[in-house]
Every structure is written in C-alpha cells, then in structure tokens.
Subunit: 431 residues, 2 copies
Amino acid sequence: MLLSGTVVADSATVIDNGAVVVDGTTIEAVGEREALVDQYPDHERREYDIIAPGMVGSHIHSVQSLGRGIADDTELLDWLFDHILPMEGSMSAEEMRTAATLGYLELVESGTTTCIDHLSVSHADQAFEAAGEVGIRALMGKVLMDKESPEALQEDTEDALAESERLIQQYHGAFGDRVRYAVTPRFAVTCSEACLRGARRLADEYDGVRIHTHASENLGEIAAVEKDTGMRNVHWLDEVGLTGEDVVLAHCVHTDASEREVLAETGTHVTHCPSSNMKLASGIAPVLDYLDRGINVALGNDGPPCNNTLDPFTEMRQASLLQKVDELNPTALPAATAFEMSTINGAKAAGFETLGELKPGWKADIVGLRTDTSRATPVHDVLSHLVFATHGDDVAFTMVDGEVLLDDGDVVGVDAESVRAQAQEYADQYS
Amino acid sequence: MLLSGTVVADSATVIDNGAVVVDGTTIEAVGEREALVDQYPDHERREYDIIAPGMVGSHIHSVQSLGRGIADDTELLDWLFDHILPMEGSMSAEEMRTAATLGYLELVESGTTTCIDHLSVSHADQAFEAAGEVGIRALMGKVLMDKESPEALQEDTEDALAESERLIQQYHGAFGDRVRYAVTPRFAVTCSEACLRGARRLADEYDGVRIHTHASENLGEIAAVEKDTGMRNVHWLDEVGLTGEDVVLAHCVHTDASEREVLAETGTHVTHCPSSNMKLASGIAPVLDYLDRGINVALGNDGPPCNNTLDPFTEMRQASLLQKVDELNPTALPAATAFEMSTINGAKAAGFETLGELKPGWKADIVGLRTDTSRATPVHDVLSHLVFATHGDDVAFTMVDGEVLLDDGDVVGVDAESVRAQAQEYADQYS
C-alpha cells in the first residue's frame, strides 16, 4: 500500500507531498510522493491530509470502559473504592470482553496503534482475545492485588503469580508478536513484597516480558507505602526490583530528587497522564525535570472513568498546556516533545523495537488524518497542528503491522455498533 | 420544529425521552417527547441523542482565525507583537471577512450559538456582515488602540470612538437583534484614559451597548498599568468606568482581594479562558473564589492562535480539570458549574435576555448532539457526559433564533469549503 499526504515521519521530519510505502508488516519506503508513485506504480494507494506514526497510549485501562463517566467530580478514594473497584470486581467474562473491545475500538478509531494496558484481576484472557480480534498492538497484563484490596479482587499471592505465568505462556508474543505481556501489580499499596518480587522474577524469567504498575500518583499512596516500608515509594519499588529498562511506572506525580535519580539511573520509563492527574486532582508531574534528567517519559490517557476519553491527540495537547501553565512558560513542552512522548517514547516504554517513527524497515503502524474541517483550518506548521488543533476524530485510517484496522473512518472486522450497544447495556447496572 | 432526545434543559434539568418545540424565534414547549408529539403532531421532527442550549463563547477572536497555529510554543510578547498584531494590522477587508466567517463556521459547527467577539481595529464591518450571513448570535465590537500600539493598529482617540459610534448606529440590534455592539478597548495598556472613558460614554449613550475588554491576563500588563496609573488594573478600570453589569472582562487571571470586591460589587462579568491561559502560560484564574463571591463567570476559547480550537465542550472540560488540579480537589468546579458557565452565565455576560436555558418563551438557540461513537459510550450521567466526554464534533444540529444553521453536520447557507480554501490561501502569507 502507498499512503500519501503530508508525512510527519518523526518529530523533526515533515515531508510535504510525501508518501509511505508498506509491504507486509513493515514500512518499505518513506519519501516524496511523486518519486514513490513512480517506483511503486502497482501499489494500492490511499490519500490523506496527514500521515503520521500511530500513537502509543502508554497507560490505559481498557476494561474500565464500562465506567466512562461513572463517578465524575468525586473524591478519589470514593471514586476508586465505591465505584471503580466494585465494578471491576463484579464484571463477568463477557463484560470484560466487551469493555476491552470498546476500549480498543476507541483507541483504534482515534489513532492509537499501541497501548500499555492495565487490565483487572480476573478474566484477563478476554482482553488478550479482544486485542487479537481488534488488531491493536499491546503490552498488557492481569492485575495483581494480594493485600488491602476489596474481597472480590484480592488474591492469594502464589495463585496470582501462577495465573500471570499461565497468561505469559499463552499470550506473550501472541498474534504475530503484536501482543506482549507485562506483569502488572496494581500498586505498592495493594501488593505484598512477595508479590512485587514475584513480578520481577517473572519478568526476568521470560524474555521480553515487562513490568507495568502505578507509582506515586497521589500523596495518600506515598504515605501508606512509607508507613509500611519506611521508604519513599520509588525507593521501595527499586528495593524489590520494580525499576529498570523493562519497567513502566504510570504517573510519578510526586517524587523527590533522590527518587528521580533512581528513575534516571535505572532507565525506568515513566508514563505521564495529564488529563487523569488533573481530573483526579493528583497534581502536576515534574515532566520537564524528568526529561532533563534523560528519563523516558511517555503519554497515557489512563482509564475512561478518569479522563473521559482515550484520544491521544487531546492528551498531547494537554501535556503541553499543563506544563506551560505550571512553569508559567509558553515555550515549555513544545509540540515536538509532546509528539515524541506520544510516539517514539511510548514505543520505547512498551519495548517494541523499530516502532514509533516512519522509517524504512520499521513497523507499519500508521495513521492517516483528514483535516478538511473549519476547526483544523488553516494549517501553519503541521507538527504543531497535530498536537494543538487536531484530535482523534480526524483519524480516518489506522494501520497496525500492515493491517488496516480503520478504513475511511470505519472499523474493519468488528461490529462496532453491536459492541457499543452491549457496552451500554452492561454499563447500566453500574453506578 | 420538534426536537427530541435526552433534553438537558439547564444544569439541573434533564428529561429522558424529552422534546423541545420551537415556534418562530422562540421555544414553545419543553417536556416529555410523547406528550409533545401528541400536542404538536404536525411539527417537523428531528431526533438527536442529546438536545441542549446552544453554548455561549464569551471571549472569542474570530478575526484571528487565519492565525491558528501561527506561533505555537512562543513567548507571549513575541507571539503578540511579532505574529498576531502584525497579522491583524495588515489584513485586508476581504481577509477579515474570510477570517470572521471561518471563526463563526467553526463556532456553529461545534455548538456555539452566541459569541462575545473581540474584533480588530479595522474592517469591523466585515465581521458584522459575516455574523449576519452565518446566522450566529453575537456581541461584538471594533477594537480600540490609541497608545503604545504597532503603527498599523494605533488610531487617534476621537477617530476610534467616532468609528465605534458609526458601527453602533449601523449594527447594534442588527439582523433581528441577533447582533449587538460592545465597545471594545483592547486593554488598558494600549488605551488612553480618554479612550477608556469614551468607551463608557458610548455604552451609556446607547441602550444595550456593552463593554468588552481584556483585563489582568498577565503580570506584565498589570505592572505596566500600575506604573502608568498607580493603581491595580481592575481599580484603574473601575476608576474610568469600565466595571459594571454591562462590562465583560476577559481573563482576570491575576487579581487581588480588593479587585475581586470591586468585580463583585459592580456586577462586572468575568470570562474565564482556561486553554488560552494554559497555552500562553498566563496562570490559573481564581474561578472558584469569583463564583463564591457571586461574580458571574462565563467561559471563552479566546482566539484560534492561542487555543487552537473554538470548541466549547473542550473548554468546559478544561475549566473543570484545571480547577481540580489547582485546588487538589476532584470535586472542584463540577460538570454542572462548567455547563452553567458555558450557557446561562455566558448569556448573562452577553446581555441577551431569555437565553442560555431551554424554557418556554426563551430564545430558540439549541444544539443537537449525536453520540453513537465508541468514545462517547457508555453514558452514565448525561450532563457530566456533555462536559467530560463529548466535544464539538458530536454537534450535528445548531439553531439560532429558530433558524437552522447546522443541519445533520452541514452548514446551511454558506459554502464552508470555499471559505476554508480561501482562508488557507490568505493564511499562507502570514507566519
């Protein structure tokens, strides 16, 4: 396939009248449209206004999709313990499948081609199968909770780790290596030391398996960990093995200088979730300091209940705007940085190689946008336009691994309308 | 016409399976769909998922539309003096007409039915005519700048006031009283005392004419005013007559307690512009304190160069999220408050009576949303859904004064495609 338009190949490379040629699962060529049309005259052609790398949503809760808007404007602990966790704890396998499918549909429809997905304790198989069906690229894992958790969610440590291992054996590298496994403790508050150390053991034992958890999102969490362990949260995670180049920590809103040193020294990845941090009033993460220290910072929407959208373009804009106002500096976190966080940095966090930029030999994870709308007119700088003016509804074409998942705005191979109807029906029982 | 769907009549009234009946320019009835269909069997019917009052964008720069994305990630003074003002200063009448039309199209397409529009120094007629053509409701005025301004924009005080008076006589109450005049000093820094007092004189002389200006958006502005006048900005404005129930001050990010008292005592309206304040790094306005003091706070997108969208739904969400993170309180500025700011509070600021809620006898300014998308599924609470999950692209129907301006997503009576093409051509000369 030959995709043409203004090609934003990476944060520093824009090709007007450009094209990207795809063969099989990878990109064959990137360059001027005219030359590539001559060179590949028989390739099927698609024309969009902007062609860009697929976005990477580096912290998502697809299975919370039934809870979009379930408890807006609510205190954090009430939100979590009275709404989100009870919903997760009582969802059936069928509900989990529908919720995950809805989440992946929303992602694919708005331009996310890879997600790092924090599932729930039960029915993780359903999300893996849904990712297989929708065709999204994902790093994901069943959630571990073995202490201080609601009864419906708390598991025995060894059972939880054994179930994780079964899922690794079944799904890590599945669907043509599109789907990989992350061992996923919920957070230090609800995981015993044995559980956290067990997560590290599994990640070490299975090649390519990574670790994904929440960390230092809010002050109550940090105080609880410090009370239990005598350590700041990141130091505790480091102590039990949950730092390193294969670890993705979501949020990291509240860290001190010594914790940031640990993150930088160990190569731990951080996922910034600006909309969620705003809506749940967690605080403003020190993203610029992380970037200055060389920490890889990716971008995530978090779950539909705390955002309430999985649109990656909205999140790029939010990341930039939030740092600007926090620093009182309009040049802070410019468009190019937001774009990198949402593409190449996310790819690094998810551990997929040759992903996140449009380059020959790299994975054919590509989006095409149509911007012939009043709200996206005029265009001055395409990269900046992508970050500040476009959003997920402009995405008309989504490709993962060379497969077309969204074609002229329509999802391929999944009956999206039925999924939405089923999701609303399931959602009606939760409040 | 009979519009049916889930009717959000105001921030406290949601009618499932509701309907709104329109006759002429006003709302005839609001209630249960079944009863109203029986009562008005011959009315033309339209069905949407959500029916809501049209949004009020209470601080907009439609004529800056050619500059969307013109200088993102730029220092405020460079942004203003090297990009925005030079563009405004050199735009022809035709460019001004196209820019304003594009702005109004974007507003109508995304659900704004009334705007308070800050034009430019020259060619204000073009924007009035564009508002007449598109059909939007507007309070607007030519900008006054008579000191410390770029040469192309600075005018003689009396000339500027005389031109304002001519425009008042020509356009105040035009197009069936859809369009009204606001005398519009740019801000205290670029307006002499005579100019500001002249604005008050005009507003007093002509019934229904209001005053709209920027105030206390950033610290440099406040310091400049204090240096010139020895007063804090709001005190200076109060001194020269620019406070009161007919005055709308955009931004008010930095005010002290004594200024807030003046705003409250005088009934001055404040327009909060959260995305603009974030992107330009102005700061976070004390919206909750204003509301606590009984100050009427409306909501605005500001101009396309500093947002970069005029979507009112995005702005409601942003207003809520920004206060939550600033206050570290997830219950701050809940959905109902954001909705009021974007509807009834805006109507009060703009000075249009019987506007901003769906009530019998009130103005038929109404929007219809389609939400049959993955990103807007499921719905738990409709009002909260409108604020946190929907956005302007969900708006399929827009009515102002009983006239349909957007019908099934298509603009009525204006060739939007030609306007966009012309806008891009004009925009290409600016950078």
